[in-house]
């Protein structure tokens, strides 16, 4: 699936959870509507009076999480950029999302500031299927994440990992192999391997 497909899924979910880090280094989380997807970038806005706005100005790192009605989740993690030309973007956002006029009627719309994310990692996760399915990609200059576990050449083919794997996603072989697209990242295989041949892909 293309990146733009994931961004469009987020746009369709519309109300997503946006996590930031506050001035005390603590996580904060709130629902924000995704207003536009343009040129492989995601666009949203918030009001200058809100804690969210202050947090973005101090630390632009943001983790956006949306879930479809059928339990597929999309995660976009990257830095939010404050867009200049505020009136242009706010007017464009209101044109594409007319319901915003009921929340911020008249001139009050200009208390909103537009932001975009154009570089970031994307993760897709579908817990509704057995086995679960996941995929990683990225937008802009970001690189897809490499997470989870892998089995090294030290594998003695004892099969304990495959037997224990809750999603049955480890393939038999001279060297067993984790099917990354179906892995929960739970780490159970690493714990049951008698010779410690299973490692994190990123330490």
């Amino acid at each position: 699936m293309k990146n733009n497909h994931y961004l469009n899924m987020l746009r369709e979910i519309k109300s997503a959870a946006f996590a930031t880090v506050d001035e005390n280094g603590c996580p904060q989380n709130r629902i924000i509507d995704i207003m536009l997807v343009e040129n492989d970038a995601l666009i949203f806005c918030t009001a200058r009076g809100k804690a969210f706005y202050r947090q973005l100005c101090l630390n632009p790192n943001t983790a956006i999480l949306g879930m479809t009605k059928t339990y597929q989740t999309i995660r976009l993690t990257g830095k939010a950029e404050h867009l200049s030309d505020q009136k242009y973007w706010i007017d464009k956002i209101f044109e594409a999302n007319p319901v915003m006029n009921t929340v911020y009627p008249g001139q009050s719309r200009y208390v909103l500031e537009p932001f975009c994310i154009r570089n970031g990692t994307l993760e897709y996760f579908d817990l509704s299927k057995t086995p679960i399915t996941r995929a990683s990609s990225a937008i802009g200059t970001a690189e897809p994440l490499t997470e989870g576990f892998e089995i090294s050449d030290a594998c003695i083919s004892c099969g304990k990992c495959a037997k224990g794997c809750p999603q049955q996603c480890i393939q038999q072989g001279n060297i067993y192999e984790i099917k990354q697209t179906h892995c929960l990242h739970c780490g159970y295989c690493m714990e049951v391997c008698p010779i410690h041949a299973i490692k994190r892909r990123i330490l």
Copy 2:
């Protein structure tokens, strides 16, 4: 509404966004199921192999966000505590949430570790009503948050704030007053007040 009512709303929403801060000081966000609500505490679990588990061990601050199908959101922000007696809690979680057996069958359930949040701030927000409605409370030893804006005695009753307020939640008077339960926290009133009589409740 009582705190337990909000926790039970989160339990009913079940799949909520859990934000943490990672080892680089960046926010991370993922869907986690709320497994139990007991004695005014919220209980969840995660696998030892997951980034979420490592993040909680390094920095227990967590911001949980759930949204009902009718756009009411509940936010619980506090420190996650690792529960001892792992088997007792994981068995109890699986008993109350039998679907977990399809994700972690057999002995693999014990790769999960139980956590609870018993102290934290709670915020309720209903964007589906006009004007919007909000409420703050807390569980355990935490105090409810005081956010948003207030009008000081310096008010000259010019009415510009009330006229501009997007939610029409400022009440006329010798000193105008913001109805806190209907305030967006957008800050527009503070910006339009000609004599700077409107301040943040927490600076």
